[in-house]
């Protein structure tokens, strides 16, 4: 691993340094999942791989979408599309806190000058039927990461326990780069031939998506998509474990889980459109959770889920 010295100069440099740091610590550096998700946790490299007994170590950037957080690119800190950096190691190593602090140093946080604190914050995802204990990590009073020891995912006890780190990349980068408005943040190096700011890359898309999310997305179509994803998920999981064509035992946990991800994102869009009442909300969350549980049940019966062949 190349040790990069000095303060990073751009958003992408922070990402690159994290990639390099965690690669150096033995993580498989993965790529973002190719579906719309609300958080890095939804990536099957976290949700599914935190289940079962097989050791695992992965790190990746995950573009995440939260339609209700759209502010047309005007709010200095809020975006409907943003990036999370996600690390998952199973079993959680005893020095995970030190590894994490090392990653902060790698991106230019000088531990001798800053005040880093682990403040109680237990994590729960009602849609994934998952929870864990941990902290939000503060740097000079600002939350820069979420640090969680997974206890349960998809209704299954985690054995062994995974340690999960989630960095909110924009906020963290703004702090390190000393930028007050996300759109002003240098995306690539300020001295590059064509310097680009975060706004150059994302200001327009924030506007476009905010308008679509809040006012235009066709709710009837979305409602139908939700039902379809739910039905498809069940249909996939109802298949015989033995594939009639190849004669192999193939449990389609991942394709089923894709439908769960889809349902979850459609629900978020419906929520942003304001067509889900408070009482319905709970019911929808419950339906997504039921899918997540079924997918988790299926995954633990696969080889990657620790099922002995």
């Amino acid at each position: 691993m190349t040790e990069t010295k000095g303060a990073p100069r751009s958003f992408q440099e922070i990402i690159l340094r994290l990639q390099s740091y965690w690669a150096g610590k033995g993580c498989a550096v993965m790529q973002p999942y190719d579906m719309e998700v609300g958080a890095g946790t939804f990536h099957p490299a976290t949700t599914l791989r935190s289940l079962g007994s097989k050791p695992w170590a992965a790190a990746y950037v995950q573009p995440s979408r939260r339609p209700t957080d759209g502010r047309y690119g005007e709010n200095p800190n809020r975006l409907q599309h943003y990036y999370q950096y996600q690390v998952l190691i199973k079993p959680s190593p005893p020095n995970l806190q030190e590894l994490y602090l090392g990653s902060l140093e790698a991106i230019g946080v000088d531990m001798a000058m800053h005040d880093i604190r682990f403040v109680e914050d237990d994590w729960e995802s009602p849609t994934l039927g998952a929870w864990g204990l941990g902290w939000e990590v503060w740097c000079d009073g600002m939350e820069v990461s979420q640090f969680t020891y997974f206890q349960q995912v998809g209704g299954h006890d985690c054995h062994p326990v995974s340690g999960e780190l989630t960095y909110g990349l924009e906020r963290l980068a703004m702090y390190i780069l000393g930028v007050d408005h996300v759109m002003d943040m240098p995306f690539n190096d300020p001295d590059a031939l064509i310097p680009l700011s975060y706004g150059d890359v994302f200001k327009q898309t924030e506007e476009e998506y905010a308008r679509w999310n809040f006012d235009v997305a066709n709710t009837e179509v979305l409602l139908r998509h939700f039902e379809e994803a739910e039905a498809e998920c069940a249909a996939i999981l109802a298949q015989d474990h033995i594939d009639p064509k190849t004669g192999k035992r193939i449990i389609m946990a991942h394709p089923a889980y894709d439908q769960c991800i889809k349902a979850s994102h459609v629900f978020n869009l419906l929520d942003a459109r304001g067509v889900i009442s408070v009482t319905e909300r709970q019911a929808y969350i419950g339906r997504v959770r039921a899918l997540a549980k079924q997918c988790a049940d299926a995954f633990v019966q696969t080889e990657a889920g620790g099922h002995a062949a």
Partner: protein, 743 residues
């Protein structure tokens, strides 16, 4: 005798759990040691975010040897019996002793349990403590199955004496005990070897760890107030925040920071809440203006720039937070001052569900407004104002500020109502109608606030009773006990005279109408019943009047309503009585005294009920009271026994002309005097006077029992005397049901 030092070193323990955990460690370990015979001279428990520490002084180095003697079978008893005895005692026959007893020679066994070294006992007790520690929430980590609040990294456990320290050997799922710990995570992370508690505390302080939470709190508070004082300001006291902040740092460094001028016009509560909830900052105010101008944050380390970078970072985070708050405040004020004013927010509440069986917030507000209007005259409030206040009191739930900071509900309502130019009684009610929230919270006294506060709580209580969601055991998700206590305190503090029965009945009906509003006939009937209750008080007669006048097929659920509502209503009233008992018990009124008063008519008028109970409590404390109670109980016992034996009720017809004894005649006279005096005192609600008249009965009752045998051979005399006793029961019974008094 050696000292024991234990430190359990882990990843960061939630601040709110540290103090309790330190105490639990102390209790579990010391209980375990004492149970095993290992006593100690002194114990104290300490905690930081990363460690729980227990220091015991003067621990025995061995548990004492215990001898137990057991008596066995007789000498010459069958072998089987003797063998059984030997097995139980764990001895062989030659170890038994023969002793002569009055019943012949008997075997005796002396079982000796040798004392055990302290280290062995400590290791067992500590392992058991760690494995069964009562954390409110615990977790597993890595591949192990041990549970702790966060991963447990090391166990320091040493017994130290003048000649040195020994490690108490312990291995819990691979974590072995030792004599080392670590200092501050960043400032002194290296391993430290310790040999005693003094050594440990000294070395930790050198390694930037203040072990004692009280010392950290004191240091933070002193430094914060000093720094504020130097700027002519003062820190807003907040004990809870202080304890929390002291639980977030091992080496507190206090930093005083500024709030940007543009945020200084925000209401102080908004500044304070935002800083406390999000950043755990103390507010620092100008004592002259009351304005919050600065903040104090507590860092966990010293830096080369004396905290300048840390403070700048914190200030930046705060500005982003306050920019949000300011944005909400300005948007909200615009709405409040607009033409539609707060009614736009109220309209919005028709889309917000309060509870899926109890409808929307808007429907709830309608009910509360109707009830506030009804209660208004009783509490001396203007009915229009009370209704108006009830209609806007929850409007701020739609505001952006309350969405962000739910704990500011009510308070923001007041600010916005003032901005909207509403009358001050209305604005105050917005804030105060949630009160009182706890047993020591201030109780509103302004009549409009009282009316809305009562209506709000009664609506909640009757609503959850109507849908049968009552508190059970420790579960009270809708805080109904608190609501009932709120009603009790509002009524008592303001001397409100209201018959809760009819409020409950009427409001249960309103809930019924809200839930079954589809049937026009039923709705009309319930509307009529409401009018009847308003005129005549109670449900039973209202139903009779309305249904008697009704011609046609009774809707089914009206039929049900007639059956069920009285039970629900009674149940809710007795819930109030239970809460009242708890409340008054804390004020020194015995539960049986309250029971004796609850048994009387008018027990739904809580003010009257408590007046009666207080008078009775005082009376029973007096000598006359104690004696009269004995006399009453004696009369009642004799009477009850006689009634049971004879199968009749002696309730009428005592006649002075059959009285034989002078004391008997005197009692007749005394009762005649008291009966009138008591009933007119009760009529006038002068319970002290009623008790006084009751006290006057003491002497004649005592004299009567002294001189007279009730169960006379002469049947006429006996019956007359029993009827006289019944007269005592009746006269005294006007005041309270003394049969319920214990002792």
């Amino acid at each position: 005798m050696p000292d024991l030092l234990i430190e359990l070193f882990s990843e960061e323990i939630p601040a709110r759990m540290q103090a309790r955990a330190a105490e639990d460690l102390k209790k579990r370990v010391t209980d375990g040691l004492v149970e095993a015979g290992l006593t100690y001279a002194g114990a104290h428990a300490l905690s930081t975010p990363r460690r729980l520490t227990l220091a015991l002084e003067g621990v025995l180095d061995h548990s004492p040897t215990v001898r137990e003697e057991r008596k066995g079978p007789k000498v010459g008893a069958p072998d089987k019996a003797i063998e059984g005895f030997l097995r139980g005692a764990g001895l062989t026959r030659d170890q038994l002793e023969e002793r002569d007893t009055p019943k012949g020679a008997v075997y005796f066994a002396t079982i000796e349990k040798a004392g055990r070294p302290a280290a062995d006992i400590i290791a067992e007790v500590l392992e058991d403590t760690i494995r069964n520690f009562p954390w409110p929430k615990s977790m597993r980590w890595g591949a192990g199955s041990l549970r702790w609040v966060r991963p447990l990294h090391s166990i320091l456990c040493i017994l130290s004496a003048e000649d040195g320290a020994e490690v108490v050997a312990l291995d819990i799922d691979g974590i072995t005990s030792g004599n080392t710990t670590r200092g501050h995570r960043f400032m002194a992370p290296d391993e430290i070897t310790v040999s005693s508690f003094e050594d440990y505390a000294t070395k930790l302080k050198r390694a930037y760890v203040v072990l004692d939470p009280a010392e950290r709190e004191a240091a933070i508070w002193q430094d914060a107030t000093n720094q504020a004082f130097a700027s002519g300001l003062e820190v807003v006291e907040d004990k809870g925040l202080l304890a929390e902040v002291a639980g977030l740092v091992e080496w507190p460094v206090v930093l005083l920071g500024s709030i940007d001028d543009e945020f200084l016009e925000l209401p102080p509560e908004v500044l304070q809440t935002s800083m406390k909830e999000h950043q755990k900052f103390f507010s620092v105010k100008n004592p002259k203006t009351g304005r919050i101008e600065k903040f104090v944050t507590v860092a966990n380390r010293e830096t080369a720039d004396n905290g300048a970078t840390i403070l700048a970072g914190n200030q930046k985070v705060l500005s982003a937070r306050l920019a949000d708050a300011k944005f909400f405040w300005e948007n909200d004020l615009r709405t409040a001052k607009s033409e539609a004013g707060m009614s736009a927010w109220v309209d919005n509440l028709s889309n917000v569900t309060f509870h899926n069986k109890l409808g929307t917030q808007a429907a709830r507000i309608d009910r509360i407004a109707a009830l506030a209007r009804e209660i208004a005259p009783v509490v001396g409030a203007d009915a229009d104002l009370a209704e108006q206040a009830a209609r806007v009191a929850k409007a701020d739930l739609s505001s952006e500020m309350v969405y962000e900071f739910p704990e500011l509900q009510g308070l923001m309502g007041r600010y916005y109502a003032e901005a909207a130019g509403l009358p001050s009684a209305v604005a105050n009610a917005c804030e105060q109608h949630y009160s009182p929230l706890g047993p020591s919270d201030d109780v509103p006294t302004e009549s409009v606030s009282v009316a809305v506060a009562l209506a709000d709580k009664m609506d909640t209580l009757t609503g959850f009773w109507a849908i049968d969601e009552k508190p059970t055991g420790s579960k009270d998700p809708f805080a109904l006990r608190r609501a009932a206590l709120g009603v009790i305190r509002l009524v008592l503090n303001n001397d409100v005279r209201v018959r809760l029965d009819s409020v409950i009945d009427a409001h249960l009906l309103r809930h019924e109408m809200a839930q079954n509003g589809d049937d026009p006939v039923a709705t009309r009937l319930m509307q009529d019943m409401l009018t009847e209750i308003a005129d005549h008080g109670v449900f039973g007669s209202a139903v009779r009047t309305v249904l008697d006048a009704f011609d046609g097929d009774l809707p089914k659920h009206i039929e049900q309503l007639k059956e069920q509502l009285p039970d629900v209503s009674r149940d809710l009233l007795s819930f109030f009585h239970d809460r009242l008992k708890v409340f008054l018990r804390d004020q020194g009124i015995r539960h049986d005294v309250i029971d004796a008063c609850i048994a009387m008519d008018g027990n739904d008028d809580l003010t009257l009920l408590v007046k009666r109970a207080r008078a009775l409590e005082d009376f029973l404390k007096s000598e006359d009271g104690t004696n009269l109670l004995q006399g009453f109980k004696r009369a009642n016992n004799i009477l009850t026994q006689a009634e049971e034996k004879d199968g009749v009720e002696y309730s009428y017809g005592a006649d002075k002309k059959f009285a034989e004894d002078d004391t008997e005649k005197a009692l007749f006279d005394a009762l005649a005097t008291s009966e009138g005096a008591i009933s007119s005192a009760i009529e006038a609600e002068d319970f002290a006077a009623a008790m006084g008249s009751m006290a006057a009965l003491r002497a004649p009752v005592d004299a009567f029992f002294e001189a007279v045998q009730v169960n006379s051979d002469n049947e006429v005399v006996r019956r007359n005397r029993l009827n006289l006793l019944s007269q005592i029961r009746k006269v005294v019974g006007q005041v309270a049901d003394l049969t319920r008094i214990e002792g």
